[in-house]
Symmetry: C2
Subunit: 253 residues, 2 copies
DNA sequence: AAGTGGTCTAGACCACGTT
DNA sequence: ACGTGGTCTAGACCACTTA
């Protein structure tokens, strides 16, 4: 037997109608907190739209917007005629998110360092071709050895279009993060990236810097990053130690 | 100078109000076709909501729903006070989609084959632990060598919970596809998967079946698949030839 | 000031599943 | 018959950008 009233009235959350935060967003966060706090078992019925509408005194469309976003984020599923159901053993989100190495390690609570090998303006026909820009366009090359907890983990070779972040070589990176610099330093909005992953034997250069034997497997990540408006901004090729790095992603059907 | 009327009136699409297909969906497909057909350059203004509303004679919310879904799919961006803008050099979608090996290869127009090595009921404590089910639960083990255009590319070792697809060993797979069998044969709805990728040297077993040297790099993909209701359904561990397979994903900021 | 997208309302009818 | 979610309408006010 399921009693909506019990679930809802246990909550002490209240909507702030004068807040600049939209109502649907406040509701979404309230619902999300219910689910994360374990107020429901997985597969259990979520309160119906009309029950929520009555309780929060908002229009049905506002409730629906909150619920729809939670469906898109994988916290709920809805079935016509039956109701909304909680999906609890939630696969962590953030796994499809475009993150920098720095952000990645911060999320896992690890200390990340960089050793700069190169930071200069260049013209590189191959990188330009991958980005789909003119072959003689000026690019900023940033070659770094990435360390986690003091151990070398990856070798990164990034190319950024100089036209989008002029003077970056002189100003340097904000907090050592290229993405933070692009976003906060130049006010650009990162959008999507296309990334390929493959496995290869390490060559002498990689082996030497990563401290592994020649021929040991390395993960090659190639990433082409676009701004929100669709312009290409960055091309990176990274070599990760196969024995120190594992790549996790979430897939949706 | 931008003239909305030109863009819109060039279209001969019409809404079918009696169709069971929702209006917002018809609109979405029309807008998507405009963008894919190249009616706009990348970054160009898309017609405003009010212009579209007048032209199609539907309410603004219906227009907005169509536009919102295109924004989520990366075809448009919207800026308050400025308008909606087309993002054309569209990174292919489908790259975050949960697909089977068979579907994957079909999408690329390649011929995929399988050589069954195992197809039987087992109990496997490690696989059960990964799925988070009782260690003595009955699982169906499917071990296959995957071939593309006649060449061995991957070794897959999948475990499916027998309780969710009873009799699968006797009935066999539909069109050689495990996911098709799960969905069409048993009416289950696949949801999400969590996948890890790493690089390792091939052991003798892998090397022998894949036709590569021992110690050559292989990509190890581990996938834990859930149904739409959150229940775990499958655990697969695959070894892909490093020199024949490259993994592509799309990341969003 | 005008135009844009962002949010919100209070209704409506429908298709579907359960009782 | 009833309750559920799915779609749709015709308004409203707001914040923001651009002219």
């Amino acid at each position: 037997m399921y009693r909506l009233a019990d679930v809802i009235t246990e909550s002490c959350e209240a909507l702030q109608r004068s807040s600049p935060v939209p109502l649907y967003y406040q509701l979404k966060e309230i619902f999300r907190s219910w689910i994360i706090a374990g107020r429901f078992n997985s597969g259990e019925r979520f309160p119906s739209e009309s029950a929520l509408q009555k309780h929060f005194q908002v229009s049905r469309m506002t409730i629906r917007r909150a619920l729809t976003e939670l469906v898109n984020e994988g916290f709920l599923i809805r079935e016509r005629g039956r109701g909304s159901f909680v999906v609890r053993p939630r696969v962590q989100s953030q796994l499809r998110r475009l993150t920098s190495f720095t952000e990645d390690m911060q999320l896992r609570g690890l200390r990340a360092d960089s050793k700069f090998l190169d930071f200069c303006c260049v013209r590189d026909a191959e990188a330009a071709r991958k980005m789909g820009v003119a072959e003689d366009e000026e690019l900023v090359q940033i070659r770094r050895l990435r360390l986690v907890e003091g151990e070398p983990v990856a070798l990164q070779n990034a190319y950024v279009r100089h036209a989008l972040c002029p003077g970056i070589v002189e100003k340097g990176l904000i907090e050592g993060s290229l993405y933070k610099t692009i976003e906060d330093g130049y006010g650009l909005k990162l959008g999507r990236a296309l990334q390929t992953v493959e496995a290869k034997p390490a060559d002498e250069y990689e082996a030497g810097l990563l401290g592994i034997g020649v021929g040991q497997p390395v993960l090659i990540l190639e990433r082409l990053t676009y701004l929100a408006n669709g312009e290409p901004v960055e091309y990176v090729r990274s070599s990760f130690r196969g024995d120190r790095y594992r790549f996790v992603i979430e897939l949706v059907r």
